[in-house]
Symmetry: D2
């Protein structure tokens, strides 16, 4: 299923798709699940992972809101979209930095996803 | 980014991945965004789409919860997982049936996604 | 702010409010925040709270979806509402039982909230 | 159930509660439900409410993320908290302005809730 094709089928988009914004929707969607999974995996590790659980849970919540706000094309809500992309960039970079401090495979994957999501949100923000 | 590889890296999964359940996570994740987009697109159509907006918004919320619950592997919460997969199957089938009544491209795509998500949740439910 | 008055102002409700269902919205809303807070507090405790973190995080997600689905009155989506109230009752009871096993003040409060939410969802379910 | 008492029972808070922040959690929680209800009620009105549906749905999603991020006290994630409170203030003010343009009782209530939530988030932001 293509997020890009779906958003392109909105009656007000009509083939005039913001490709960078659709990519930000796709990757904040993935990042919401990856961070949910990393918070959960961290809580099963034997060492103290409380700061990483915190940043991953916050990042999952911010990405979930971002993917929903950024998916909409009815009317216009650009200031909110900018505020959420900005919040998502900051949240993902902080989560990536925290995950990068740990040697777990799930943290390595989560850090990579967060960095990619932050970069895509930054590219999308530049188009609005 | 692979949802399957991410969940497989949870310390308690350790290579023993429930493949069907990881697929249900992936598709409830996509379905949450597709339904969010379809509810939004429906609100921009000139005809009366209120029932379709309702079923799509409900489906987006149920899929969002399902993807998060189904992504976790710490400890055990099988009764809750079963209840959410069951709710997700019903919600997706109802949303697919409503979207199938409309001739919009976004509704056709959403119906297809919902049917696929319902089928994947049914396969995952059979494994638990 | 009254959830009951808000839902009563929906054009299709027109003074014909399902009081039990509005109470279920109110308490699944509170339960979503209380469980989010309990999962977070549990991750700061020194003992092993991983099962409690799991059940609280799942409960927060299920309650969040329930409060949104149960708040809507446009058209009709009764099968989905029943499925989510059913899932919410089960999830809250399991979370209450897990929290009741621990001696922390936040777990005691969370167990109480979950029991109340389960009871309200059961009463609401009986009206649909 | 008191959100303030619940957060005060977190082991790292230990009676040292940020009262303004707990109030922001409480009101973003209410605002998430009120906006969900208003978007739904708007979709049942006979006139064109598409811009109001859009701003209410976005506001519900941003408030849901804000209430979760702001409820956590484990470790520290102040930059993310600031980014979400900032996004929530902007989103609530835009939603309040849009709802204030309409003569429906649900829009009047939603505008009032959004203004209150924006004000509480602003007070909380000043404390961090």
């Amino acid at each position: 299923m293509s997020i890009h094709d779906m958003i392109a089928s909105h009656p007000d988009v009509a083939g005039n798709l913001n490709d960078a914004l659709a990519t930000a929707v796709r990757h904040s969607m993935f990042c919401a699940v990856i961070c949910t999974s990393c918070a959960d995996a961290c809580s099963s590790e034997d060492m103290d992972m409380r700061q990483c659980i915190r940043t991953c849970m916050d990042c999952a919540d911010v990405c979930t809101a971002t993917m929903k706000v950024a998916a909409r094309r009815t009317g216009s809500n650009e200031a909110v979209l900018r505020a959420m992309l900005t919040a998502c960039i900051e949240t993902c970079e902080i989560c990536a930095a925290e995950c990068a401090r740990h040697d777990h495979d799930h943290c390595r994957r989560c850090a990579e996803m967060c960095r990619e999501c932050a970069e895509d949100c930054r590219k999308a923000l530049a188009t609005i």
